[in-house]
Amino acid sequence: MFRRRSPRNPAGSPGPPGTDAFSNEVLAFLEPLYATALRLTRNRAEAEDLVQDTFVKAFRFSDRYRRGTNLKAWLYTILHNTWRNRLRDAARDTVDVDSERVEEAASLPGGPMALETPERILLRDSLDAELQAALDGLPASFREAVWLRDVEEFSYAEIAEMVGVPIGTVMSRISRGRRLLFERLSRAPANMEVAARQ
């Protein structure tokens, strides 16, 4: 259902807020919103809460949605803001701390380690679990950026508006996120081989 809908051009324009057509359009995004919430929170109960809260706000503030604009991007903006507010409420871990830590990690020289190829990584039986673990291990802002770009296929400009940062920052988060992810996936089997030999 969702796959057929291009992120930038939602199928048709949803009806005005308050109508069944609008409600149905919003409900059609339930699954992708939940998958995104799960990747952001890394916790099923929190993801469920986050999605419900997003729905409550989407309908409560539905008069702020401008017809003809991208409903999916609007919903993801609410999801993002709700999540950030919760993070702020829950802890003092900020994205900035994350970024610094990874800035260091990502700027480390590549070292002598041979690069795996994406093709070989994609053939691994254990890839699903490895990929989820590698994604979950990324700092929150990078995880969100690569997810919105590569899984949800939003444009840089859409992500920038959603997340409230400049386009350059979006690109550098995507870049670091992708590289870090690949580095971790490249390392996983190498470690296993070493372990097997010992």
Binding site: D49, M171, G177
Partner: protein, 252 residues
């Protein structure tokens, strides 16, 4: 700016094949001459490829039971023009669900008249229960100055936040803006001898003192100048005398 830096800035649109031909050629030219940048490009390309190849699987998450029903209920409420209170009934005990429906129906009246202590107490009791249940505070103390700074920078509220007091058995655990109710009330969450305790600060309104019990929760209402304070705790928690008198005093 060095070539490496310029290349790094354009790496993402480069691997996304979103660069104009001239810039693309420029990046490629640098990559052939610079092994470290080439490694970066290969890594980014590798991460992108793996993610996009697996995007479909990643997107596929089975929904938790009941989530669709609850979200559909939220949508239905909206379509009917009523408020979106239904999902909360799954999360709150029945008496609180009644409180939520009541306060939603009467909030407008209450805000207009500013008269009924019972309705104010019912609304804040619902907010108290909702915040502690839906957004369980982390199990560690929140520094009062951090809370003040957060409320000020995020919402423009300049209020005094009573800090934790070990002597009085009170721990500040969270500070937030209450989303429900009229959406504009600072809500301070405390742990008082193991019981949830809420302090709401309503500015610009003065009320006579009152002590009201609604839906199993006790609300102590008092004013200082043009500010009304409301302390909410479960009635079953006893009178929490020490904690309450500490927060009352410290809140002024």
């Amino acid at each position: 700016m060095s070539d490496c830096r310029r290349t790094a800035d354009r790496l993402t649109p480069y691997v996304d094949e979103a660069l104009p031909p001239a810039e693309r050629a420029d990046v490629e030219h640098h990559l052939t001459a610079c092994p470290p940048c080439r490694v970066s490009a290969e890594q980014e390309q590798g991460g992108r490829t793996v993610l996009r190849e697996r995007a479909e699987q990643l997107r596929h998450e089975s929904l938790p039971p009941g989530l669709r029903t609850r979200c559909a209920a939220i949508a239905r409420q909206h379509t009917r023009g009523a408020s979106a209170a239904v999902w909360r009934t799954r999360l709150l005990p029945a008496s609180l669900a009644v409180a939520l429906v009541l306060f939603t129906a009467f909030t407008v009246v209450m805000l207009a008249t500013q008269r009924s202590n019972t309705l104010l107490a019912a609304q804040l009791t619902a907010d108290h229960a909702k915040c502690f249940r839906v957004f369980p505070p982390p199990d560690r103390d929140l520094d009062a100055r951090v809370a003040e700074e957060r409320l000020s920078s995020q919402y423009g509220w300049d209020i005094h936040v009573p800090p934790s007091s070990a002597r009085d058995g009170v721990r500040l655990v969270s500070a937030r803006r209450c989303l429900y109710g009229d959406g504009r009330v600072p809500h301070l969450l405390y742990d008082a001898d193991g019981h949830p305790l809420s302090l709401f600060v309503i500015e610009g309104v003065a009320r006579p003192d009152a002590d009201v019990t609604t839906f199993g929760h006790r609300s102590r209402i008092w004013s200082r100048g043009p500010t009304t304070f409301v302390l909410v705790s479960p009635a079953s928690a006893g009178d929490l005398t020490r904690a309450v008198s500490y927060v009352r005093q410290a809140a002024q």
